[in-house]
């Protein structure tokens, strides 16, 4: 029987006791400090010195209140008491009550040299860029087909998961794995379009019905991931355990720097493509007016397919980068979906630049808002900002107002 093998624990059966350890993280254990334990009336029970581990303990005559006092005079250089030298503690029957006087070696609240606001801003930028990368596809798909794709988060997840399998199970280094994951993302995007959305469009399915289909798809995919990948979060095999490097007022891990660079480069390329290339213009044309685009010689289905492939690949890359910093999970994309929507909308629906700008704002604001509101409400700030901005600019930041009449 397992219970029989129990080692009697510190907290029970030995009779009443007070005990403690004097040490700081900088000085290590502090030896030879005298600790006096007395009753509240001042009757000294015992006075002991800390041992080489900084530990001390005093057996007590019984349960009740005791006053523990430390003699601060012998504390080493740089270490002082955080408050009063004595503490009154209540010791229950049979309990060895640990007492913690609290020392101060000057390291508390010193923040490691970063300026919190700046650090949060940089973290927010990084986060925002990742949202943007994942969200560009969402925005483009909305733009070209009018579909509000609730299953877009699953494209993000599939990228991360694919890279994980290739990287961890397949032993391929992460960078090629990420490229392969982008291919997977693109293919999944294409499958989405070919197997579901194109036939639905051909049947003339309404946009809202399509929206619900995407909700169903999201459910189905997400839980399939859970079945195959499992409910755990897992890291990639590479670039783990990096220490953050200091850049003056903020610190960043190398992989974060890499993510930022990759995201910026990719997003700039996408933006240029949209603005400059034929296919980019075709995408915007299709988004404006599908029939007219077809009447201009644009193969609408091909453009839409291209958008899905591009969106899928970008989402996958976003997923990989996200997985790199925050591990791979079966529902990681879904949890990001709201922020993606927020970013896309904030910038102005259907505009790719808007998605970028909006996502950055959302990312930064979510992080920075923790300066004023509790962490467990950090999304509230971002969401509030979204509401405020949309109320002031109903068409989104980069959107333009339609003319009436």
């Amino acid at each position: 029987m397992a219970f029989a093998t129990l080692v009697p624990g510190v907290a029970s059966a030995v009779g009443e006791q007070v005990r403690g350890t004097l040490q700081t993280s900088l000085s290590g254990p502090i030896e030879g400090i005298s600790v006096e334990v007395a009753t509240p009336d001042g009757d000294v029970v015992d006075t002991v010195q800390t041992d080489e581990d900084g530990r001390w303990e005093v057996d007590l005559p019984g349960a009740g209140q005791y006053v523990v006092t430390v003699d601060p005079d012998d504390l080493p250089e740089g270490v002082e008491l955080n408050g009063e030298p004595s503490r009154t503690v209540t010791v229950d029957a049979g309990r060895a009550q640990p007492v913690n006087i609290g020392l101060n070696d000057g390291s508390r609240n010193d923040g490691g040299g970063t300026i919190r606001a700046v650090q949060l801003f940089v973290d927010g930028l990084r986060f925002g860029l990742l949202i943007a990368m994942a969200a560009v596809g969402l925005s483009l798909i909305y733009g070209t087909t009018g579909l509000t794709n609730f299953a877009h988060g699953e494209l993000v997840t599939i990228g991360a998961i694919a890279a994980w399998y290739i990287n961890v199970q397949g032993g391929v280094p992460l960078i090629p794995a990420a490229l392969l994951a982008m291919v997977v993302g693109g293919v999944v995007g294409a499958l989405n379009e070919l197997a579901i959305w194109r036939p639905l469009r051909r049947r003339g399915t309404g946009l809202i019905a399509a929206l619900v289909v995407s909700i169903g798809l999201s459910l189905a995919l997400r839980y399939s991931y859970q079945i195959f990948y499992g409910g755990f979060s897992n890291p990639y095999a590479d670039y783990q355990g990096q220490r953050a490097k200091s850049y003056g007022p903020f610190t960043l891990q190398d992989r974060d720097v890499a993510s930022i660079v990759i995201a910026v480069v990719v997003l700039v390329l996408v933006a240029l493509m949209l603005q400059r290339t034929k296919i980019g213009k075709a995408m915007r044309a299709v988004s404006d007016n599908r029939d007219l685009a077809a009447s201009s010689g644009i193969d609408v289905n091909r453009v839409v397919l291209f958008v899905w492939v591009l969106g899928g690949a970008l989402a996958a890359l976003g997923g990989v980068l996200l997985g790199l910093s925050d591990q791979v999970q079966w529902d990681m994309g879904f949890r990001l979906l709201l922020l993606m929507f927020a970013g896309v909308t904030l910038g102005g629906l259907g505009t790719a630049y808007g998605a970028l700008l909006g996502s950055l704002i959302v990312g930064v604001f979510v992080q920075m808002s923790t300066l004023v509101i509790p962490n467990d409400m950090k999304y509230v700030g971002g969401l509030l900002l979204l509401i405020v901005i949309l109320v002031v600019r109903p068409q989104g930041i980069l959107g333009s107002r339609a003319r009436i009449g």
């Binding site: 003339g204 309404g206 909700i215 909308t345 629906l349 509401i387 109903p394």
Partner: protein, 332 residues
């Protein structure tokens, strides 16, 4: 086979359970918002949360009577609708959707936050507020009752009875409104606000009325849910519920009076049958246990639900009651 029948019966109960009522009321509200007025309110669950917590806070925190709690819930929903509507009803449909999602999610985060614990109970939520209500049941709530192959506890039965009466009343109200000129204006707003403005209707006021009305329905849904589970916990009011309610609405047919009701019943049935059906198939050995353990069922059911939703809409994009002609028109 008997197992399967049993599975069917168990899932059948979901048709009538309080969750079906919960979704039906949410969806009726959404129907008023989206189906008729064109307001893409994706934050319906916030109204439900206010309804549920209206009762919970009033009764367990402030010690007020149950019915005052109901009133508080309704009032809270009205206030939310006004606050939400005031700045946002000018927004284009899709922007409104995001703002409302954000509001619902934000509100839930606030309700569950540690700082709100003194009022909402934080993540622990509140409980023990439905005794007064259950006590009203005209039958013994301690007993279990057998009805057409399903068993119900007395309390549950009472909640469900009152719930369905509520659903019927709400549907009736919607029906009455939507066949009136008021309903016509509201539907016209869905189509083109500017045209309606040009005809001298105060679009803003109508939208606000619709928002408030649908919000109240949502609050009722939240109340039924809170009373049904006997607890109010912020995390129960996840946005995913709004999505499911939309699914229910579209399944049943938007802008149809009974669409949301039937849709919700069906949705809950699918949700439950995906589970019970699979399990009975495994138990029967139809699906070999090596292939699928009953542990996997939990996840697989959502996959099935997802696929089921998709298939239903692929084959009947207008929903059960919807008019195909009408749906074709808005295809882009």
């Amino acid at each position: 086979m008997a197992d399967l029948l049993n599975a069917f019966a168990i899932a059948g109960k979901a048709f009538f359970g309080f969750q079906a009522i919960f979704f039906a009321l949410l969806a009726i509200g959404i129907n008023v918002h989206f189906g008729y007025t064109g307001l893409l309110n994706f934050g319906q669950i916030a109204f439900a949360m206010l309804g549920g917590f209206g009762i919970a806070i009033s009764v367990s925190q402030w010690g007020l009577p149950f019915w005052v709690g109901v009133l508080v819930g309704v009032l809270a929903a009205v206030v939310l609708a006004l606050l939400l509507g005031l700045p946002t009803l000018r927004l284009r449909a899709d922007y409104l959707a995001i703002v409302t999602i954000a509001t619902a999610e934000g509100l839930r985060l606030v309700f569950r936050s540690v700082s709100a614990t003194p009022v909402t109970g934080g993540t622990r939520g509140l409980s023990a507020f439905n005794r007064d209500f259950i006590a009203l049941a005209p039958w013994d709530t301690g007993r279990r009752y057998n009805l057409i192959g399903t068993t119900w506890s007395g309390g549950e039965l009472w909640v469900v009875t009152v719930g369905w009466i509520l659903v019927a009343l709400c549907s009736l109200l919607v029906w009455a409104l939507m066949r009136s000129p008021w309903g016509r204006v509201v539907k016209a707003i869905r189509e083109d606000e500017d045209a309606v403005r040009s005809l001298g209707k105060n679009v803003y006021a109508y939208k606000m009325q619709a928002l408030v009305l649908g919000g109240i329905f949502g609050a009722f849904g939240g109340m039924v849910y809170a009373v049904g589970t006997g607890s109010a916990i912020p995390d129960q009011y996840q946005n995913a519920n709004t999505f499911l309610a939309y699914a229910a609405l579209i399944l049943g047919g938007a802008a149809r009076v009974l669409g949301p009701v039937i849709g919700s019943m069906l949705l809950l049935f699918i949700l439950q049958f995906a589970d019970t059906g699979l399990r009975s198939l495994i138990a029967n050995g139809v699906i070999p246990a090596e292939l699928l353990s009953s542990t996997d069922v939990a996840q697989l059911r959502y996959v099935l639900v997802g696929i089921g939703l998709m298939l239903l809409l692929v084959f009947r994009p207008q929903g059960i009651f919807g008019d195909r002609r009408e749906v074709m028109l808005d295809a882009r």
